[in-house]
């Protein structure tokens, strides 16, 4: 994607505006309560928009459209089934219970409902997960940023045989889309000037080495014969590549610092109000791409006809419910039971980073209304995120890397100047996810760990100082983890797997805590630890058995479902075997028990 001066102006104005707005919002912060819960002053509309935009990261903006390009509207389940019903349940049942207790975190509520051990275990799980997750979000977003802006170091291959690119990609372990191909000398000179490759591979059938020496004096090049291309050849020659002008790590540091500044200054209030702007920019930008994309196809009927005419490849592209043995990772059974019953509930009712903003609502009514408003906005999200992926397919059916579907669509349909709007939307998605986890991690560490174990009694300004200190520490940890992730790409999958380990058990003890008076502290602790252990066991067995336990490649939906069930059973059995909590303690903590 090539951005013009107008695009860069839009992006710079947007970034400076966001930081300035965050700093402006932060000037009123005087205490820990202001910092962690925005002084309990947030209105429903701001929380609702913040909830929605925090759920959609930059990775989702690109990745969901890419998956929709491949699999179709089935991805819409993650917002429709995976958000709308549970947000309605949350609005009337769970959120009022949390808000009423005036807690700052979910672990704090668990401490009040059960005991201190459950609070600490839950706080440690979230407290460790969130800073690591921050780093991974930063890393994955930086990767997407570099793909969108075409910033990845490029390798130029000059050959009269295009298929050789595939062999060199395999030999050098560089992704195929980071190669530029040229079949003539003149074209190679032009592309070397335009794209600034870090190394050039020249097929000896194209010309003599001496010719190229004159042409490419500043770029290292390798003169090769087709037969010698092999992994050892690739490894030894890649050492000759010069350092790229823009490293992925620079993107990580730049984004980390921008987000860190306004979150440090403004706390939850800055996070939520910048999210409001980000929600408008993101939804506006994405819906604009959708309408413009369909308009360029000639209208909705033409769009549906083009997709329908693609035959077998797109026969399920407009189906939300796919068979159990579908070749996509989204069978209806996993979607309904794994996503609908466990992961969606765990996310919207038990994810500290999400629930925290409703705890900062100015009234219980605002807390309820924020979830309802969020649910209504969520109905729109697949139109903004999923369907553009299918529109991209209608415009460009032959994109090799699905993650480039959105970027290619935008490049195809949007004039320069409007690209900046989409790019600002991408940055909005990135910033809203990172600032949420950053502020939430600082809140858990200050409220549930520091305050509890190190300094239980102190002036509220002291906790403000500690909260800001944790914010600085965690953005540095995130940048470090992101740098680590650049060497181990599978770390992103690891983070997703870790999340599925404890989401099911966390949900089980929250649901029983709110709905069942008889659930006890020891029961919840057994359910939480037993559930996490069971998830780990399932995943270990799946990865080590000769034949994998699950028949899908990414079994996190099923792992979450089974660990939830086991956790539920363990909590019930141990609770029935232990002494019931006193009635006085349970008042206001169990549904309709005041």
């Amino acid at each position: 994607m090539v951005l013009g001066p107008i695009d860069y102006t839009i992006i710079i104005v947007y970034l400076i505006g966001t930081v300035a707005f965050g700093a402006y919002i932060g000037r009123k912060i005087k205490s820990g309560k202001d910092y962690f819960l925005a002084g309990r002053s947030l209105p429903w509309w701001a929380i609702g928009m913040s909830l929605v935009v925090s759920d959609i990261g930059a990775i989702d903006m690109v990745g969901i459209a890419g998956s929709a390009y491949l699999y179709g509207i089935v991805l819409g389940n993650y917002d429709w089934l995976g958000s709308v019903p549970v947000m309605i349940i949350g609005a009337f049942l769970f959120i009022p219970m949390f808000w009423k207790r005036k807690v700052a975190t979910i672990p704090e509520w668990l401490g009040a409902r059960y005991n201190s051990s459950v609070q600490t275990t839950s706080a440690l799980i979230w407290g460790i997960y969130m800073p690591i997750s921050l780093g991974i979000i930063l890393y994955a977003s930086a990767v997407m940023l570099n793909v969108l802006l075409d910033l990845n170091p490029k390798i130029l291959v000059v050959s009269d045989e295009k298929a050789i690119v595939e062999n060199i990609a395999h030999a050098t372990s560089v992704k195929k889309y980071d190669f530029i191909y040229s079949d003539t000398v003149d074209d190679a000179v032009q592309k070397a000037n335009d794209r600034n490759p870090v190394i050039i591979f020249i097929d000896n059938r194209i010309g003599t080495s001496a010719d190229f020496q004159k042409l490419f004096q500043n770029i290292p090049f390798v003169y090769f014969s087709k037969e010698e291309v092999s992994p050892s050849w690739g490894e030894s020659n890649m050492h000759r590549a010069r350092e790229p002008d823009w490293n992925i790590f620079y993107s990580i540091v730049l984004m980390g610092l921008i987000i860190g500044v306004y979150t440090f200054l403004g706390g939850l209030r800055a996070v939520v109000y910048t999210d409001v702007i980000q929600c408008i920019v993101m939804l506006g930008g994405s819906l604009f791409v959708l309408f413009f994309g369909i308009y360029k196809l000639g209208g909705v009927t033409e769009f549906v006809d083009i997709i329908g005419a693609m035959g077998e490849r797109t026969k399920d592209h407009f189906s939300l419910v796919l068979p159990v043995d579908t070749k996509t990772p989204h069978p209806w059974s996993g979607i309904l039971f794994g996503l609908g019953i466990v992961l969606a509930n765990a996310y919207w009712l038990g994810n500290q980073a999400i629930v925290q903003r409703s705890l900062g609502a100015r009234s219980m009514a605002d807390a309820k209304a924020s979830y309802i408003f969020g649910a209504l906005l969520k109905i729109l999200i697949p139109f903004a995120m999923v369907i553009p992926g299918i529109v991209a397919l209608a415009h460009n059916p032959a994109i090799a890397d699905a993650d480039k579907a959105m970027a290619t669509l935008i490049k195809t349909i949007m004039p320069t100047g409007l690209l900046g709007i989409f790019f600002a939307a991408f940055l909005a998605g990135l910033m809203s996810s990172v600032d949420t986890y950053l502020n939430s991690a600082a809140t858990v560490w200050t409220t549930d760990l520091y305050k509890k174990f190190i300094r239980p009694v102190a002036d509220d300004t002291h906790y403000l100082f500690i909260g800001r200190l944790f914010t600085v520490v965690f953005i540095l940890v995130a940048i470090y983890v992101a740098r680590f992730a650049t060497r181990f790409e599978s770390i992103y999958d690891l983070a997703q797997t870790l999340l599925s380990f404890f989401q099911g058990p966390s949900l089980a003890i929250i649901v029983l805590g709110v709905l069942w008076k008889r659930a006890t502290g020891p029961g919840a602790l057994a359910g939480l630890i037993g559930g996490v252990a069971f998830s780990s066991l399932l995943m270990w067995v799946n990865n080590n058995a000769t034949i994998p336990l699950f028949q899908v490649s990414e079994p996190f939906l099923y792992v979450a479902l089974w660990s939830f069930m086991l956790s539920l059973m363990l909590t019930i059995v141990v609770s029935l075997c232990t002494k019931q909590e006193p009635d006085e303690k349970l008042k206001g903590l169990v549904y309709r028990y005041d």
Partner: protein, 96 residues
């Protein structure tokens, strides 16, 4: 050292296989049941889930679904908005 690692690996694989075989039977049984469900019935299950939530919302007491607007003090009923959201879900799942 290599021998110890090889033995550890083969033991862990056989333990994993034993546990996997224990779960595989019931897992396959469940999978077979789910496979036998027609897609139309599956879609109906999604819609029944939305209907059940809509029914629950409809039957909630008024005190749990109304809010006083902070500025005007006017009473706002959240129930129609929640029912609209669930109605939209039903329509969307009927279409797609």
């Amino acid at each position: 050292m290599i021998k110890i690692l090889t033995i550890t690996f083969s033991i862990s694989v056989s333990i994993a296989d034993t546990i996997a075989n224990f779960f595989r039977g019931p897992g396959q049984f469940l999978r077979d049941i789910l496979m036998s469900i027609d897609l139309t019935i599956a879609k109906l299950l999604f819609i029944l889930y939305f209907l059940a939530i809509a029914y629950w919302v409809y039957n909630l007491p008024k005190s749990e679904v109304t809010m006083d607007d902070v500025k005007s003090g006017k009473e706002i009923d959240l129930r129609p908005f929640a029912l609209f959201a669930m109605g939209s879900m039903i329509i969307i799942y009927l279409i797609f």
